[in-house]
């Protein structure tokens, strides 16, 4: 038999001794990637201050914002924990509902025709109306706020998971049918691994978005959390504090997005494919 062409098996297991000299340019590149957007934002910020002529409580200087964050850190971080709790519980709910419904639709296809219109309708009801109804029903409780986060997040999870489950290769599905595999075997061994990249993509949206939605819910109905801090700061003309919270929320969303993205790359069976 003639020799077959074999693609490389990936990077060697042992690290080269030349790692040291290679590490420095890599670190430099990472620093450049982090510093460039920070510097750009700072430049734009100062330009906005100088050219807009708006008062300091509308657009404070960056150093004033950092100072507010530092001075009020105990107060802000206390509320941050409340926001994180709302975002985390809502995120879990969104996933349980979104992935759960997608699995149900895969297991019992008629349920898709029964429940999908309701999911789409729910998705298109203005959030303000939903928040108002939930506030009337449950008041300023963790239930109302987490429900808002879950409602905002479940639809992208549902749609992406469904699309991912359907992206399974027909050839693989035929193989499972010919082997008379059970629904669970086909789901867990073929459909779910194929759906994983789509599910992770949904987490990137829902994970980082749940912080933003939690803050918005707190801003409207709560006496705790970063949303409340923003509300309180606005009433006291403390633009620096509003910006401090915004900075914190942005950093948190970015961190969550990056973590999910990193996790997704680890879980993605396509990672390392030279054809991608």
């Amino acid at each position: 038999m003639a020799a077959d062409v074999v693609l490389p098996a990936g990077p060697p297991a042992t690290r080269s001794s030349k790692m040291g000299p290679r590490l420095l340019p890599k670190l430099g590149l990472v620093a450049l990637r982090v510093l460039t957007p920070i510097c750009s934002v700072l430049v734009l910020w100062y330009l906005a201050i100088w050219f807009s002529g708006l008062p300091a409580f509308v657009i404070p200087r960056p150093e004033r914002v950092i100072e507010a964050l530092w001075v009020d850190h105990a107060f802000i971080f206390g509320h941050l924990l409340a926001t994180l709790q709302v975002a985390a519980i809502g995120f879990v709910w969104a996933n349980v509902a979104g992935i759960g419904l997608a699995i149900l639709f895969d297991l019992l296809p008629p349920t898709r025709h029964m429940l999908m219109p309701a999911a789409i309708t729910l998705r298109n009801v203005p959030y303000i109306a939903l928040i108002s109804v939930l506030m009337l029903a449950f008041g300023d409780s963790i239930l109302s706020k987490t429900a808002i986060v879950a409602l905002a997040g479940f639809f992208p999870v549902l749609v992406n998971t469904l699309q991912g489950l359907r992206s399974a290769d027909e050839v693989q599905l035929d193989r499972m049918r010919i082997l008379n595999a059970s629904w669970w075997q086909t789901f867990s061994q073929v459909r779910l691994p194929y759906a994983l990249p789509s599910i992770v993509a949904a987490q990137e949206i829902t994970g980082s978005g749940s912080i933003i939605v939690a803050i918005a819910a707190e801003w409207m109905i709560s006496s705790t959390g970063l949303g409340y801090v923003i509300n309180n700061a606005m009433q006291n003309y403390r633009g620096d504090k509003v910006y401090a919270v915004a900075l914190l929320a942005t950093a948190l969303s970015f961190l969550i997005y990056s973590f999910v993205h990193w996790l997704g790359r680890r879980l993605d069976w396509r990672a390392g494919d030279p054809r991608r």
Binding site: M1, D4, L7, Q172, R175, R177, I178, L179, N180, Q185
Partner: protein
């Protein structure tokens, strides 16, 4: 253990269009039958009906004494597609074991068979690390891993170049001598069909009907020298003539 296949009055209609019209065929246990014909003549539809992946509009298929659905439930069938069904996140050996796990039946030792299939040293590689020829061999090993009685092959070598195709075809024929199976083999390639099959079912353009059943009266496995044999040349020319005449008509 190979099993006979009985196809009686099988037709299939998709909407108003007939893809296949009344096919009757008896295939003996261990026989290799190739289905040849132009694109869209219903070869793959017939294969999928035998695999119980498509319901026939009329007629029935039996594998041994079982209906096709029952044979599938008993895991008597193996399927090899043009695109390998090797799971991309599994190593070659794990993919072969996967078939055995799902089927609940260990047909053979995966490591031993991969060695026999010329894949020694590649057992731990994933699909993307294997060449087309190697991948198709893993695919065939996986399809045979639970020792099915019948192997259904839908243009399994179509993605390979001419040389690799001939090489893997000859290898596969030798493998069948070691592990006999009843084989239903869909191909566009007349020479490949004559080289491998005991009989060729030549289909007309859609709706697919069997134009002629052509026997290849030479024992298998056959080696490359058979391609120079006057019988090979004559049978291939006859089949080509049948198809060209029908297409021209």
């Amino acid at each position: 253990m190979a099993a006979p296949i009985s196809i009686r009055g099988v037709s299939r209609r998709f909407g108003e269009t007939w893809a296949l019209k009344t096919v009757d065929l008896e295939i003996a246990a261990g026989e290799f039958v190739a289905l040849v014909g132009p694109s869209g003549c219903g070869k793959t539809t017939l294969l999928r009906i035998v695999a119980d992946l498509v319901e026939p509009s009329t007629g029935e298929v039996r594998i041994g004494s079982d209906r096709a659905a029952e044979a599938r439930r008993k895991r008597l069938l193996g399927l090899v597609s043009q695109r390998p069904a090797v799971l991309p996140w599994k190593r070659a050996i794990d993919d072969v074991r996967f078939t055995q796990k799902i089927a609940g039946r260990v047909g053979f030792d995966p490591a031993k068979v991969l060695r026999e299939f010329g894949l020694e040293g590649h057992e731990g590689k994933r699909a993307r690390q294997l060449s087309g020829g190697m991948l198709q061999r893993v695919n065939i090993a996986s399809a045979m891993a639970h020792d099915p009685s019948v192997l259904l092959m839908d243009e399994p070598f179509a993605a390979l170049d001419e040389m690799k195709r001939e090489e893997i075809g000859e290898w596969f024929d030798r493998e069948l001598a070691v592990r006999p199976k009843t084989v239903l083999f869909v191909t566009h390639h007349i020479d490949e069909a004559v080289m491998l099959a005991d009989r060729l079912l030549v289909f007309s353009p859609a709706p697919g009907r069997v134009l002629e059943v052509v026997s290849v009266p030479v024992p298998r496995p056959r080696d490359a020298s058979f391609r120079q044999d006057p019988r090979f040349v004559a049978i291939a020319a006859h089949v080509r003539g049948l198809l060209m005449h029908k297409e021209a008509a």
